[in-house]
């Protein structure tokens, strides 16, 4: 291999994925960015350049501002909760035994059922006047709750459902990370007489950090882009208490068919995500050494 061609090697490795991403993701994204400067009437098939008008409108749109605040709150709670619970579960079931195998599969179950169907099930469970959850509360002598139908409980109820759906999924990925930690390292720590708690923080966690970073980033992005539970369970209500930016993207694109405005909202969302992810990468102090 000559020196010249050696420079090409890394590009050859990434080429297939980059071509695919370019064609199926990056080009459509660029198209979306472009449309955010237009007034698009997709069915009439007209596009009128309007400069920054969409962006000016969205910062003044109280629904969007509320949705942005909701989105930040939602993520600030859901993502840490999911990651911590998933990590706890992963450590708990990272062992042998038939019983543990069964539990592991059970914890994984919510991740496999379709998000649409899971949302329908939870909407029915949460129904205030004849849902199963209030049935349980009343049966044990507790007062019935309003769940998704009141401004104060709607967001916590949504968060509860989303956490339930996601924990098992991230647990499995963290299990893979745990499996990748060499046993010799753990055994060395045992020989050194480290307590289980110390072993976890001093040995397991640092070695798990590449997987953990992935889980934190991926979970953040997925939660920012989540809207099916909102769509099925609350439609953003009551009074926009559960409206997330992604739901507003959907609503503007496919209810109001304002593709340009939806593109502008999603561009704003992209910025929020990018900031969150870069903060995470800095905060978790994982260097991107190449």
């Amino acid at each position: 291999m000559t020196r010249r061609t050696r420079h090409l090697v890394p590009y050859l490795f990434i080429a297939p994925a980059m071509v695919g991403l370019g064609l199926f993701k990056l080009y459509p994204i660029m198209e979306g960015l472009r449309l955010s400067f237009y007034d698009v009437r997709p069915i009439a098939r007209t596009q009128v350049f309007i400069g920054l008008a969409n962006f000016i409108e969205l910062v003044q749109d109280p629904v969007i501002v509320k949705a942005a605040l909701n989105t930040v709150l939602f993520n600030a709670i859901v993502t840490p909760l999911q990651v911590i619970l998933a990590l706890g579960l992963a450590v708990l079931v990272n062992r042998q035994g038939r019983a543990v195998r069964v539990f592991r599969s059970v914890f994984f179950m919510p991740a496999v059922i379709s998000l649409v169907v899971a949302s329908i099930i939870w909407k029915l469970l949460y129904a205030p006047d004849n849902g199963v959850l209030n049935g349980v509360l009343i049966a044990v002598g507790l007062p019935a709750q309003t769940f998704l139908t009141s401004q104060s409980q709607a967001m916590p109820s949504l968060i509860g459902m989303v956490v339930w759906k996601g924990v098992g999924y991230w647990m499995v990925i963290l299990l893979a990370g745990l499996k990748d930690i060499p046993e010799s390292v753990q055994e060395a720590a045992i020989v050194d007489g480290a307590s289980p708690g110390r072993r976890f923080f001093a040995v397991t966690l640092p070695l798990l950090s590449p997987t953990l970073l992935f889980v934190v980033v991926a979970d953040t992005v997925i939660n920012f882009l989540l809207f099916v539970p909102v769509y099925v369970m609350t439609q953003g209500g009551p009074s926009n208490a559960t409206s997330l930016l992604m739901f507003e993207v959907y609503r503007n694109a496919f209810v109001y068919t304002r593709f340009g405005y939806a593109a502008a909202v999603s561009t704003a969302l992209l910025f929020v995500i990018a900031i969150a992810v870069s903060l995470q990468m800095r905060f978790l102090r994982v260097e991107f050494e190449y």
Binding site: L92, V117, I173, K179, E187
Partner: protein
Amino acid sequence: MEPIRRTPDFGHTMRRSLFYAALVLIALVSVVPLLWALTSSLRPDDEIFRYTTRLSWKTLLPIGGTIHNFREILFEDRFARFFGNSLLVAGATILLGLLVNSLAAFGFARFTFPGQRVLFGFVLVTFMVPFEVIVLPLYLVVRSLGWLDTYRALIIPAVPDAFSIFLIRQFMAKLPRDMFEAGRVDGASWWDLYWRVALPNVKPALITASLLLFLRQWDAFFWPLVATSSLELTVIQVALTKYMTEFVTYWGRLLAGSMLATLPIVAAFFLLQRYFVQSVTSSGIKG
């Protein structure tokens, strides 16, 4: 001797029972909503919502149960075909996706090259944009390739995947440097290093990436609806919406179908999970 031996045994038993109590509690939370769906799928339609208001043992036990819903789905609808379509699409996505994305991950993890940061930034950006925004341009791309209403339309756009690249890169980057340098000294090509050194050492990442790709395709709904129209290409989640018709929702069949789309996957996970877990117990409480 006796008391000394009993004390650790007692503590051990305590810890063990606490451990299992915790597991059972979490398992209940995970499974009860699905259990309600499962028992409902075993009821006739006019029974499903009968026992929600006033809770009784009937809420969770399908008394006078019927397998009518399951029979209806398995024998009268082309459920096997739809299930098979989803399996084919997910399977093909995994195989192609692992290859394409692990190649890119290797490129990003083991080389330093001009433009690397920018290109990796591009990769990350592609998973931060909602699908709903790119669906129309993507549809136009797929149409111009002549792929509408083919398996290719369902598979190929999902193959290059930032999540998988990122995940596999994370695992490859932490492999020890000398592992590769030894190979270079022996005159191994970059392809050999990728295929014989890197890949075998990141199997957990590959398996996890497969799972990511699989679940994404298994839950895929909107894109298949947009990109295909023939019945032969219907995937499972689209098929399920058939039970929510304009006027009537066939709850029993909808829930039975969802269970049929869920349980085989959980069963497969049960059988394959040894790949996710350490082979020898070496951390925490011994079980």
